[in-house]
Symmetry: C2
Subunit: 148 residues, 2 copies
DNA sequence: ATATACTCTACTATAATAATAGAGATTATA
DNA sequence: TATAATCTCTATTATTATAGTAGAGTATAT
């Protein structure tokens, strides 16, 4: 699994929208500036996130983006899989692959390892939701206040 | 982490050489044929594996390749990291990264997740050696005999 | 009306991947 | 010592993915 810039931007965007969930819309301009993302690239990411059902938008003046679900219902895994594709190290190692066989005995031995890897990655990214991440950020920000 | 063809070929090659460890050299021709790898591509892979200290070669007639270490001393992780590069989903999530900070708070929250992912992948691939894999293959091959 | 903001398609530059090609160097042995 | 077998090394190519840029179009609050 490698996280592309696009995937990284998508995650940060969902996180920013999570932090402002229930507080109306956020413009692409604000999002781009806050996370230092090229605005035209972010446009495409947001259109994808819309297609994926993660965000919804409001056009025109006072327009912007907002989450379609509560942060607790969105996991890192959902976003990463949708934007960057399958996480398995090799295509045949997907948990719900249609076929179970391998073309040769050598491939087959490694496949089992890659399936273990896939499961262990899934186990992490499918169980971290954005509500948790928001809390972590809030704790860090509080810590910052006392540091100054 | 994504395993490239090159990585896959390297793993299969080390596995084939492990199965014949202590039995002299194996030609690139045999290796290529047995695992269905383009021979000219395999040449490059083997040169890399030589640079990495995994294999050694003997030139001329009766030449070929052989492992420089026993299969039990070689892990999947060593081969994959050497051929396909770092396994971490994002560069900053390497366990022994020089810097610990992140450019912004959003990156930082995800970094911890990616470090967990890195650790859990390492935990698998750094603890599977090629002696184990050989045993698995031998068991499978015995099973095949009775199936026929 | 108009300014603001999202939408959509096309284009481009760079790098990685997966080969392919061919000339060169070494060595056993007949 | 000639030669066939085998590894060595560098260059080239085709395809795809990635990351970003560009610009015209659509909707909407005031």
């Amino acid at each position: 699994m490698k996280i592309t810039y696009k995937g990284d931007y998508a995650l940060k965007t969902i996180l920013m929208l999570s932090l402002r969930y229930g507080q109306g819309v956020v413009t692409i301009h604000e999002l781009a500036q806050e996370a230092d993302i090229p605005i035209k690239f972010l446009e495409q990411v947001l259109l994808d996130l819309k297609k994926g059902g993660f965000v919804e938008s409001k056009r025109g003046i006072n327009g912007g983006y907002y989450l379609t679900r509560t942060p607790s219902e969105i996991t890192i895994g959902q976003v990463v899989r949708f934007i960057d594709g399958p996480i398995e190290p090799v295509p045949c190692a997907s948990i719900d692959a249609l076929y179970k066989g391998c073309k040769d005995i050598y491939s087959c031995v490694f496949k089992n390892i890659w399936m273990e890897v896939t499961k262990s990655i899934s186990n992490i990214i499918d169980h971290v939701n954005f509500e948790e991440l928001c809390k972590k950020i809030q704790i860090k920000e509080e810590a910052m206040v006392y540091q100054i």
